[in-house]
């Protein structure tokens, strides 16, 4: 967050949030709804039916040119050039030490056109990074302010969104994207089958001027059947249950994607990329602290920053923690020493001076039932 003025920005849906009783909090430089009714109620709606999210605070950059694939691959851990139009792919922009500038999603819209979505809190940093590193035939456009982002997430998403989109949603694969007419928008918009909840769902990258019309129409059509407006509180619980990292918690400029458990996304067979040597050295040494999942039997939630102990000695710290309603337990992530990282390891979390039992547990904590 480089906006030091302290002035919080508002998304195109700000008035909608107020009208719906959203409790507004600062997040990533924006005033965003943390909840409308209840985090647990909103979480439940997404797991059982569907929820509607305003994610317009996230940064959107349009990128075009024939060199985008090779250019982006040199700055990030995953492959970009071999993506096909209509594909979305998770990636992490890294620094020389292998730490993460940001975790992002690339959407390849056409052979030479891409959409890059970055975290709100990193958007200024990432815009500065990509413009400073721009080279060859790579054209960058900052879409912040012009574009909103509305997500519908949950098992009813296809059914409830389909009447609004002129594309066969059921035929779209997970992590695919298309440009399609959406009812209430003046131009075709990017529709992607992506999300951050562990459920099926879609994200709609709509012009800011059309955001309220699209949001209101979706909610009016399905609220009676249980579509809930959902805030960032529910989103954080949902993503933690789904084992998805949150920048600033499971990953940051110092915590590498390897430490965050994202080895699957690091393509060491790429010729070269920013941070490759550092990540390879870390992988080869193998003695790095790493993010693990913790499940706790007691009622006391673990919170970010709490010490994690083994045999009374500190071995790490909590990075995220919450009640996991779908898990039926308190769950957390922790950055721990390798000796404390094996699944099943019994650890404790120090909460206000008392130790509470926790067991290293494979993530995700929650996996959606197969349709």
């Amino acid at each position: 967050m480089t906006d030091v003025s302290g002035v919080l920005r508002r998304t195109a849906l700000y008035d909608v949030h107020l009208a719906l009783g959203g409790r507004m909090v600062p997040f990533g430089g924006f005033e965003m709804p943390v909840q409308y009714s209840s985090i647990l109620k909103e979480h439940d709606a997404v797991r059982k039916r569907a929820g509607l999210f305003d994610l317009s605070h996230m940064g959107q950059f349009a990128i075009s040119g024939v060199d985008v694939g090779t250019w982006a691959e040199a700055l990030s851990i995953n492959k970009v050039a071999n993506m096909k139009p209509g594909q979305a792919r998770y990636n992490v922009f890294t620094n020389e030490r292998g730490g993460a500038h940001d975790d992002v999603i690339f959407y390849r819209l056409a052979e030479d056109r891409w959409l890059l979505v970055v975290n709100a809190g990193n958007a200024d940093k990432m815009w500065a990074h990509v413009t400073a590193e721009r080279s060859g035939d790579v054209r960058l456009t900052d879409l912040r302010g012009e574009r909103a982002l509305i997500a519908i997430q949950g098992p009813r998403s296809v059914q409830w969104l389909q009447p609004f989109v002129d594309a066969d949603l059921a035929a779209m694969k997970y992590y695919s994207c298309a440009e399609a007419p959406v009812r209430g928008t003046r131009e075709t918009v990017v529709v992607a089958r992506t999300g951050y909840t562990g459920e099926d769902g879609f994200e709609l990258f709509v012009p800011s001027d059309d955001a309220t019309a699209v949001w209101d129409a979706l909610l009016a059509a399905h609220r009676g059947a249980g579509l809930e407006p959902c805030g960032l509180g529910a989103r954080d619980v949902l993503r933690l249950e789904a084992g998805m990292p949150l920048y600033g918690h499971e990953m940051d400029e110092e915590i590498t994607p390897l430490q965050a458990g994202l080895a699957w996304a690091i393509k060491f067979d790429k010729a070269a990329f920013r941070g490759k040597e550092a990540l390879a050295a870390q992988r080869d040494a193998g003695d790095y602290a790493r993010i693990v999942g913790l499940a706790m039997d007691g009622r006391v939630p673990a919170r970010s920053g709490y010490p994690v102990l083994a045999g009374g000695a500190r071995v790490g710290e909590i990075r995220s923690g919450s009640l996991g309603p779908s898990v039926g337990k308190n769950i957390a992530t922790a950055l721990v020493a390798p000796a404390a990282a094996a699944d099943g390891t019994a650890l404790t979390v120090e909460v206000r001076g008392a130790e509470h039992a926790a067991v290293v547990t494979p993530m995700p904590f929650y996996r959606r039932p197969k349709a």
Partner: protein, 127 residues
């Protein structure tokens, strides 16, 4: 909403109901609503000596940990066992079954430091 009459309030959003020199303590409707879904409450032990306005426990919602600043000082005589198994009781009935603990006051005069329902109402409207 209007605050229940007959209770006293602290600026930290706790309520006190006096019965002789024993006070029942809870958090206000405003507090439970601000916190959201309550998942854990940590209370002082029976017999503990509390200092008025000291931090004596926590209320945890899904998102956050908040201190309980006791609105009265004295000895804890009882804690609400029902909220151990069902912390959401505090959300559902903050002035009734969701009470937190009882204190035998060491000095009844300390309640002069607390607010009337009207004063507390004014505080929450301004907040």
């Amino acid at each position: 909403m209007a605050q229940p009459a007959g209770l006293l309030y602290s600026k930290e959003h706790e309520w006190v109901k006096l019965d002789g020199d024993v006070a029942t303590v809870g958090i206000t409707d405003y507090a439970q609503s601000s916190l959201g879904d309550i998942v854990y409450v940590e209370l002082p032990r029976i017999g503990a000596a509390l200092t008025q306005f000291g931090s004596i426990g926590v209320v945890e919602s899904v998102k956050a940990v908040s201190d309980i600043f006791t609105p009265v000082g004295g000895e804890v005589t009882e804690t609400n066992a029902a909220i151990e198994g069902d912390p959401a009781l505090v959300n559902r009935d903050p002035y009734g079954d969701g009470w937190l603990y009882k204190v035998k006051l060491d000095d009844v005069g300390q309640t002069a430091e607390l607010m009337s329902p009207e004063q507390y109402e004014k505080l929450t409207v301004e907040a």
